[in-house]
Symmetry: C2
């Protein structure tokens, strides 16, 4: 094993810039770029401007905001350095938007102020994915500073709608297909699985989502004057949600599993061989193992689809009590999908199930359809996957385990579908860093690990040629 | 039938004061006396001060605020005029607190500004029960103005916790039992059933309530990284709520119906004889008939208990979507009880049911226990009921139908239990006036109807003696 700190001048430079990286990260976390909340539009714009000024300072060219032709949605940021004729062209992906910060009261420090505690920086979006994005950008900046150029051609695509399901991304890719053409996609988003294992993500689940509204009357009613003679929409909606899973944890919506293949014995054996401490996993989150009968936890997480209620509400939810029968009730649902499932078909199965279960006293409306995408898996022999394996072997001395994630990276499926390209996820977040939850954090120790790996993967890609990627380019 | 407008000088005076009554009502509605919301404490205090200055102006004596010995809770207002030695003493009841006004966006005019439209005054608490309370007070004021005194002895008790389940009332009655001693209670709260029928309420359902919290993990979790391997508290709570009723609409909690007697055939016949336009009732609220199999709508409403979820929430409920598995979910429940049910026992049955249905991956907590009370029915031969029947016959020319209400008047059960007294409900609200819902209103035409009936019932009581009440006084 080589010692990259000593032998690679670009990495040496990048590591020397760590204090600047941390300062830039704090400034970026201070932009509340919550794309789901229209009230946070200024935070989105502030984040865009920080990223754009950084790209300009790094000598990126042709910088622009990409929006679909109709101009709607949050723009993605584009910039390129095509410094290496004859070398591969890699589209590097990240996103500048973050999840909402509520429930605010559960944060130990303000979500939009990066605060260091015990070797960790806390803040909304710091791990998903502002720190991983800056690790990628600082790597590129270090090559430019030391060598005056990049060893490969790089196009950057930094999206603003990842946390809301990337609704505009397909159109952005379609509209700007020529600009974005590349040999493969390398994502700074996606997360390493565990601190104790060197691993590469080779697949992710798809997703889809919608909002459900149940109505039973024209207005709220007094629970004494009408209690017993009208349907309660919270009872109705509870019944619909309770009917989604059977007693074995299988999803009861007819057609939901269409296209899903059972894991093969080889796949099950491969998964069973991965070190996984179930007790530690569940005690860390204060929960008990749970799920579909007949599958292990990792099989449930990687190979089986889900439907989850992410939020539900109706009636009086303030202080004290109110004797009301509400006239409407709401739920937000998302599903996670596995290879073989069509997102629209899976979502339709859930909607049809609700409609079929609905009692005659209630009406049902669907809205809030999220951007959706199928599951994705990178081909086992893909050259960018090989480069990622080699980079991790070089910088960690270990051969990475190939794992999947239960989460979705809509990018991977969209990029495959629209641009015909494969994506390797090369984030240096860790999956225990409270993404989408209070007290999200990023380990400071992941910064040098990430810089080393990103320097090395660029060198590995520089040793490849565009012809190596040609068999995998489907468009 | 006599014509009370011409023959009764007290009523003539009272009717002449209507503009003043309406001005006083507008001032009272402008006090946001929402007892459930600690942020509205000033509205509660403002309402108290308006009522107290009115009592002082009417020559009421011994005016004071009644709180339990420990001093907690919203005080009740007390005042008395013991003008008629040898005549019955009546405790007149009303309440100055109102329901919360949300959902605010469904109001056509501001809830705490009484606005007149089409012969109705709109505002939160105007019908429940600020206008009915002022009708009672103006009647008493008219006797004082015309005769210089009341024809009977009156003690006023104006409560501040009716809408939150009267949690302090039992202690107030116990603590101030001697001060409040009377022959019977006449309530300005309670509501007439329908505009098209002259009726008297002879019974009300009891109630109890609590809040439920389900927890499945120590913190919110990402629906991709944990979806499929942890229990979702919204699914668990939905399952608990869905399990509360069976397919026939019966409540499935074992022991909940303990003590409930089936309506007799005579009772069912009596109820069936009451004119009730089911189509009109349900089309007015935009709902469909619904309820427990084997009972008519009126039987469901008057003779059968209920459990209703008044509010439910958990997870992300803001704009857009958030792919979270929440770690906790909440519901507020209240139940309506019928004669024979013990409120504590009925509530315990629901709690036991939830605990028994709870999957092992979740924990359950109960809190927010409301003030509670059993159902109540006034004895058929009670002299105050007789006076009420006579007053309505005199002022409407019709014999009132004896009906029940599905709602609760905690007062009736508490007064019976603590003071051993019976209560007649003599409100001039109408039950379609959007109590506890947006756009609550009070018909202006109910003011002269109410003043006439209240003048007359005081005259009817004046024709009775305390001895007539003695057989019904249980303490």
């Amino acid at each position: 094993m080589t010692d990259p700190v000593v032998t690679d001048p670009v990495l040496t430079y990048a590591l020397g810039q760590e204090p600047r990286l941390i300062a830039a990260l704090k400034a970026l976390v201070a932009c509340p770029s919550v794309g789901a909340d229209p009230a946070m539009a200024q935070g989105m714009e502030d984040a865009r401007q920080l990223v754009e000024s950084r790209l300009t300072a790094m000598g990126f060219r042709n910088c622009q905001r990409l929006t679909p032709v109709d101009g709607s949605g949050e723009p993605a940021i584009y910039g390129e350095r095509l410094d290496a004729p004859g070398k591969p062209t890699i589209l590097v992906y990240a996103h500048y938007d973050v999840q909402p910060s509520d429930p605010l009261e559960k944060w130990d420090s303000p979500p939009f102020e990066a605060v260091e505690r015990n070797g960790r920086l806390y803040g909304r979006g710091i791990s998903d994915d502002k720190a991983p994005m800056l690790i990628a950008l600082d790597t590129l900046a270090a090559f430019v500073a030391v060598d005056g150029k990049l060893p490969i051609n790089v196009k950057l695509l930094i999206e603003g709608e990842e946390e809301t399901g990337s609704p505009s991304l397909p159109k952005i890719l379609e509209t700007h297909g020529a600009l974005l053409s590349a040999d493969a996609v390398l994502s700074a988003d996606g997360a390493r699985w565990r601190p104790d294992l060197v691993a590469l993500n080779i697949g992710s689940r798809g997703n889809a989502g919608l909002e459900v509204r149940v109505q039973t009357a024209a207005q709220d009613l007094h629970s004494g004057r009408y209690g017993g003679i009208v349907a309660n929409p919270l009872h109705v909606l509870s019944g619909l949600i309770a009917s989604l899973h059977d007693a074995q944890g299988h999803i009861a919506a007819a057609g939901f599993y269409d296209g899903v293949t059972e894991p093969t014995q080889a796949e099950r054996d491969e998964i069973a061989a991965i070190p996984f401490d179930q007790d530690q996993t569940f005690s860390a989150i204060g929960a008990s193992p749970y799920g579909e009968a007949g599958y292990s936890s990792l099989e449930r997480l990687w190979m089986r689809p889900t439907v989850e209620v992410n939020g539900m509400w109706g009636g009086y939810t303030g202080a004290g009590s109110k004797t009301v029968i509400p006239n409407e009730a709401f739920a937000k649902l998302t599903m996670r999908l596995v290879p073989g499932q069509d997102p629209q078909r899976a979502k339709q199965a859930v909607m049809d199930h609700f409609q079929a279960q609905l009692p005659p006293e209630a009406t049902l409306e669907f809205s809030g359809h999220r951007g959706q995408g199928g599951a994705y898996a990178v081909p086992a022999q893909h050259p960018l996957l090989g480069a990622a394996v080699a980079a991790l072997e070089q910088t960690t001395g270990q051969t990475p385990l190939k794992v999947r994630i239960g989460a979705s990276l809509p990018l991977t499926e969209i990029v495959a579908r629209v641009l015909g390209l494969d994506t390797v996820m090369f984030s240096f977040a860790l999956s225990d860093e409270n993404f989408h939850a209070p007290n999200e954090f990023f380990r400071l120790s992941s910064i040098p690990e990430g810089l080393a790996a990103w320097v090395q993967i660029l060198r590995e890609i520089a040793a490849l040629s565009p012809a190596d990627f040609a068999p995998y380019r489907r468009k």
